[in-house]
Amino acid sequence: MKHDVKKLSALLLALMLCFALLAGCGGNGGNNQTDNNSNTNGQNSGETGDENQETSLFIFTSNGVEIKMNAEADPIVEALGEPISAFDAPSCAFQGTDWIYTYDGFQINTYPLNDVNYVSSVVLTSDAVSTPEGLEIGGTKEDMIAAYGEDYTEEYDQCTYTRGDSQLSILFEDGAITSIEYLAVLPQQ
């Protein structure tokens, strides 16, 4: 009997020891939870990039419909209503098809992946529409900087901003904007 009590107390002691240690970790673990997130995210910086910038992606809106890059295209087209025209360009030799939907003032381009169409770009085609930030065709570089800041790369007369998986490309001719295009940074293919 006495023996058993000792055994039991030994077990209890061992358990207490574990809990003490675990509690030690757990205590840290509590405030650690967030860190571990940042730790993991730090390693997959791509992921964080996306998450943190979710709010600040380049998104075109028309009649309250958000057109996000790399988003599924069909629901968006449905929400926008009948396009002026829809043009399909089958890729050479492949069964996947790129679609071009033309609306008043802009064009939506899609690419196929595993039988689903995704938005690859939105091109503003006239000054009848403007970006949610107020930029439109015919504007100036000053307008662009006022709307989107200085963080762009410039090549030939084209300025490009990149945020997450979206890009905004603005083309100038003689100092005036002649084209505004939202581009998807395509997932690895």
């Binding site: 000792k6 055994k7 107390s9 030994a10 077990l11 002691l13 061992a14 358990l15 020891l17 574990c18 240690l21 675990l22 970790c25 840290n28 673990g29 405030n31 650690n32 939870q33 967030t34 860190d35 571990n36 997130n37 940042s38 730790n39 993991t40 730090g42 492949f94 069964q95 595993n114 293919q189």
Partner: protein, 530 residues
Amino acid sequence: MLFTSFGFILFLAILFPLYYLVPKRFQWMLLLAASYVFYAFAGWGCLIFIAVTTVTCWYASLQMDRLQKRQSAYLKARKEALTSEEKKAYKARVKKKKLGWFLAALLLNFGILAVLKYTNFAIVNINAISALFGGGQLQLVDLLLPMGISFYTFQTIGYVIDVYRGKYPPQENLPRFALFVSFFPQLVQGPISRYDDLAPHLLGEHPFDRRTVSFGLQRILWGYFKKMVVADRLLTAVTAIIGAPETYDGIFVLIGMFLYALELYADFTGGIDITIGIASTLGVPVKENFIRPYFSKNIEEYWRRWHITMGTWFRDYIFYPVSVSKPMLSISKKSRSLLGPELGKRVPVYLATLITWFATGIWHGASWNFIVWGLLNGVVIIISQECAPLYHRFHERFPRLGATFGWRLFQVVRTFWLMSALRSLDCYRDVPLTFSMVGTIFTRFSLTPLFDGSLLELGLGTGDWIVAGLGCLLMLGVSLRQRRGSVREQLERAPAAARYAVAFGLTFAVLVFGAYGVGYDASQFIYNQF
């Protein structure tokens, strides 16, 4: 250079003929050159780190040995002249100097490892504590982590400790020592070899021996099969499950544990098979790292059979020294007087166990997941030690049960699942998520996903599941055969046609079913429309 890359195969194809063509006394030099070439492919920066470890440990060991020799000579020459006190004082002085070199080598090399591997972990934790008090946050640093640094650092430190303990004399020749540190087959993932086991073979002369070479090649092939056909295939499903914990809970956690156990076994032992196989074709025997671990009947046995060279490293260089250290012995005395001799004497052992498992955990990776994983292993081992008398009595009640096949099977299955459950800590993002996911096994259990085709949405098609399943059965079969001795020796006795058929079948299984090349990723496979 990955084991599974074409580049590595090419590297071996160049090395082998050269190795047996050069004069035998140059073989070790060729191996050294090859090892550094292999390492250079991982990045020139990494070479500096392995070189620093090599030179510092080599030099410190030489210095310790020199001190020891000088002491022996000194004491021998003055055997009569010195009093016992004077001798003791002299020995103490030498010991202190020796300890200085020893600690310098230890701190420097563990320091390098710690800084490279654990700095960000430390920063994250400091930031967390600082955030509690509203303090500032440190930026994470971008450090290079040289390939295999944990493995070669531990192997080399083991050597320094052995030399310090006077187990064997140090290697005087720096290039020869450098080969021991950098021997390329075990650089990436071990095993962690001991100098007295490995070095004589590395530095010896190796005439071409058809049997060891062909055994080696067979073992390499088997390793590739496990790694490329089974492990890399299962990995797709495991990644899918642990990558979407909100979708895959309940029974999927269980499936994930099971698949991860198989994947890890196939990957790790496959890699070790390749390592040992390559070493064997070079005439170098390397210690086994696994002995059918999933057949273990309890966790302690499991750890004697899984990643053996790591387990014995921690036992010899951490568990024993900690257990028999002066502070631990005095704790032992105190605990005995406090708790009585029975329990009291176990306290220090358990403390040492937890320290060892803490170290093992953090060695595996810089995160709380691994630390908790390590400690839980220690706790389970301690609990099973404490329960040993209970088991004992249970078996006294049912004396015949223990010998039955069913009971042993129960033990094996229990141990397998226990280890699989603990291992889920190295899958999920953090500790709380792991515990909550394991919790969902009980709260959201449902068998339907097994039958409604969800398994086919984990990135593997029906064919893949069949191949992976057959591969696992083959691994099981080989393991069962292994209990009757070396499978390759058994194969050697089989008729030639059967041997060729096995080699042929395995080779083409790897070539066809192996996960390699551009076309592998099924989701990106554009030709599946044809």
